[in-house]
């Protein structure tokens, strides 16, 4: 019994799960109907579904960020990438009102699949740029991605011409607001990306390669892993997840705001990765943990909203969470506690 318990607590998913459960319990305490799920208009409806749906963009970006962080990198430009990709898709679809057969309908400027592919391609381009600077020129990741973070919102403003671009094309709203079999479409997208990633990192050697590059880049290069190419494509992938998230966000709010779309999203994504148990120093990474981390952040936000506290105070709570998680991850603190535990154990 004790053995299984210690095995459980040693699992990397233990602490993230405990945090999430505690948060959910707090939510239930303040709002007894928290877990209620009802069927309305043929789809599921309730707080939990709402949290899952709203956490989808963060979950996607955090998965990309997990891989980047696993290679000892960091990508602080994902928020800007979201703004750019959102601006591209909104500007391309746009939508205008035409009267067809006496009925008012909205048509898109360019076919929707083309617009989506274009937005993802632009996001990929952002990622290739980051990858080129980090893996090609050998810049520190935080500096290399800082460049796109600074310039990216300017580029997005350029695409939207300084305006908030509103989308009027109905089918596009399906991505962010639609339901398949009563479950939000965005969750299917998260599931597909997760499945692909799990398949690639657990069933092929890719996951091992990424971890080895994060643990010791020089040794992994000597053992024949093309570390450079790997790092390059990891940044590209991270930007693509930001692009997919941008599609969901733009579709959900039916507009693209170059100034505020994805603002501070990079910080939330990094926080989600850290909460999920992946060390910010690189190496071992936990995709499922990251997803739970993203859910923790969204549940926390939901709890703050439902408590009626001004949402701005959210930042103070997040700050406390950041400090707490880092302190738990800090080996120095663990040593301190261990020493203390042994000392009291010895005298007792």
């Amino acid at each position: 019994m004790k053995n299984t318990l210690s095995q459980l607590t040693r699992s990397h998913l233990f602490w993230p799960c405990v945090t999430l459960v505690l948060l959910c319990l707090a939510n239930v305490y303040f709002n007894p109907g928290f877990f209620d799920i009802e069927v309305k208009d043929g789809h599921l409806y309730g707080s939990v579904i709402d949290i899952l749906n709203r956490a989808a963009p963060l979950m996607l970006i955090a998965m990309g960020m997990t891989l980047v962080i696993a290679t000892r990198g960091i990508d602080i430009s994902v928020g800007a990438t979201v703004a750019i990709a959102g601006a591209v898709v909104a500007a391309l679809i746009g939508g205008s009102l035409v009267i067809k057969d006496g009925v008012q309908t909205y048509v898109s400027n360019v076919p929707m699949p083309l617009a989506i592919v274009a937005a993802l391609a632009v996001a990929l381009l952002c990622g290739l740029w980051n990858g080129l600077l980090v893996a090609g020129a050998g810049m520190q990741p935080i500096v290399a991605t800082l460049i796109l973070m600074v310039a990216g919102r300017g580029v997005a403003q350029l695409i939207t011409e300084g305006q908030i671009v509103t989308v009027y094309y109905e089918p596009f709203f399906f991505i962010g607001n639609g339901f398949i079999f009563g479950i939000p479409v965005s969750l299917y997208i998260v599931a597909v990306v997760l499945a692909v990633l799990l398949l690639l990192t657990k069933r092929t050697a890719l996951g091992l390669f990424i971890e080895s590059v994060g643990i010791n880049p020089v040794a992994s290069r000597f053992s024949g892993i093309s570390a450079r190419a790997l790092v390059f494509w990891v940044y590209a992938f991270c930007a693509v997840t930001a692009g997919i998230a941008a599609l969901i966000i733009t579709s959900n709010v039916k507009s693209a705001d170059a100034n505020n779309a994805g603002l501070l999203l990079e910080l939330d994504a990094i926080l989600a990765v850290a909460l999920g148990g992946t060390s910010l120093a690189g190496g071992r990474f936990y995709l499922i943990g990251t997803l739970i981390g993203a859910l923790i952040i969204q549940t926390l936000t939901y709890a703050i909203y439902s408590l009626g506290v001004p949402p701005e105070i959210n930042m103070v709570v997040k700050a406390i969470v950041v400090f707490g998680v880092c302190l738990i991850q800090s080996p120095a603190l663990r040593d301190l506690l261990m020493k203390h535990a042994f000392r009291t154990g010895g005298t007792a």
Partner: protein, 342 residues
């Protein structure tokens, strides 16, 4: 003095930055009427006084190889605390200013302690500090608070004249004094030399018996102090306290330091370079304002492009030393140390 001898990898970025500033200012003077005047130049100092002060603190942090993302939020928190105490509690400016400077320093001290004692990454600790300081602004008030105190208004409007048509504000004088102090601190004190030593190689600095831990904590304290001082200058400049003041200032400060020739890996750079970096950001803004047809978001793109160019230059200098031939042979060389350390 042998000019060629003084140009090396350490001074080249600063030299390039200064030449670039002169070129940009010259370009403005040729292109637009009324651009070439002493006052336009002094206005760069007046409008960017708080950025300069914050960038000076950031330079010290970067010189040790760290980074401080909390500076913008500490500026905002300072304006908010000042506005709340002056307007709602009617405290005197002579009490409030030392108090907010102490708060900023304490904030830096706490972050520095976390970084040193718990070996946490500066990036993530100061990120937490950034959230905390911004959040605390909103705890005070989510709205902007105007400062109507007569002393603040008087300081804000006071102009120190030079000759006929040139003047400086109090804020600009304070930022120049801060710069002078910072140069003294960096170049002529034990503290400054320890900062450079830590940035060069922390382990060696430790083995040499330098007070690495104390200096690291002090550097973040200094950055917190500079941010709070920057916040005080913002209250003089804007006459209000607001949680959204100085949004993204940390990126401007980092960009100014990098453009000013400070290596982000630490150990190389000059505090004075950061002032030139800030002035370059200012002159870009002025150029875009004088042009009138370009939108303000071009500023962000221009800063991004400059940042990229200077980072690439830094990389090439690191790889090739001062030998120009080595710079060009870089791309032919096989990859060395491919995956970068953060």
């Amino acid at each position: 003095m042998n000019l060629a001898g003084t140009i090396n990898t350490r001074t080249l970025p600063l030299l390039v930055t200064s030449v670039l500033f002169a070129l940009l200012f010259g370009f403005g003077s040729v292109s637009y009427d009324n651009f070439f005047s002493v006052q336009v130049f002094l206005n760069l100092l007046i409008d960017n006084a708080f950025v300069a002060v914050v960038a000076i603190g950031m330079t010290f942090v970067i010189l040790t190889g760290g980074i401080d993302l909390s500076v913008g939020s500490i500026v905002a928190l300072t304006t908010m605390v000042t506005a709340a105490l002056v307007e709602q509690q009617h405290w005197s400016i002579w009490v409030v200013v030392p108090l907010v400077l102490a708060i900023g320093s304490l904030f830096g001290l706490l972050m520095g302690s976390l970084i040193h004692y718990f070996r946490m990454q500066p990036f993530i600790v100061t990120l937490g500090g950034m959230f905390l300081a911004r959040g605390l602004c909103y705890v005070i008030s989510i709205d902007s608070i105007a400062i109507t105190d007569p002393t603040y208004a008087a300081i804000s409007e006071y102009r120190i004249s030079f000759g006929e048509e040139a003047f400086l504000s109090v804020s600009a004088i304070i930022s120049l004094l801060t710069l002078a102090l910072a140069i003294f601190l960096a170049q002529y004190t034990r503290f400054g030399r320890t900062v450079y030593a830590i940035g060069g190689n922390e382990r060696s600095a430790l083995l040499m018996g330098l007070p690495v831990g104390r200096t690291k904590i002090l550097v973040y304290t200094l950055s917190g102090f500079c941010s709070a001082l920057g916040g005080v200058l913002v209250t003089f400049y804007m006459l209000s306290g607001y949680g959204l003041h100085a949004l993204g200032l940390e990126m401007d400060a980092i960009a100014a330091a990098v453009i000013g020739g400070t290596l982000l890996t630490g150990g190389v750079g000059y505090v004075a370079g950061s002032l030139v970096g800030v002035m370059i950001l200012g002159v870009i803004q002025s150029l875009i304002a004088f042009d009138g047809s370009l939108s303000s978001w071009w500023t962000r793109i221009a800063i991004g492009v400059l940042l990229c160019a200077f980072c690439l230059m830094q990389r090439l200098l690191e790889q090739g030393g001062s030998n120009l031939g080595a710079i060009f042979s870089y791309w032919k060389k096989p990859a060395e140390g491919s995956a970068p350390a953060r």
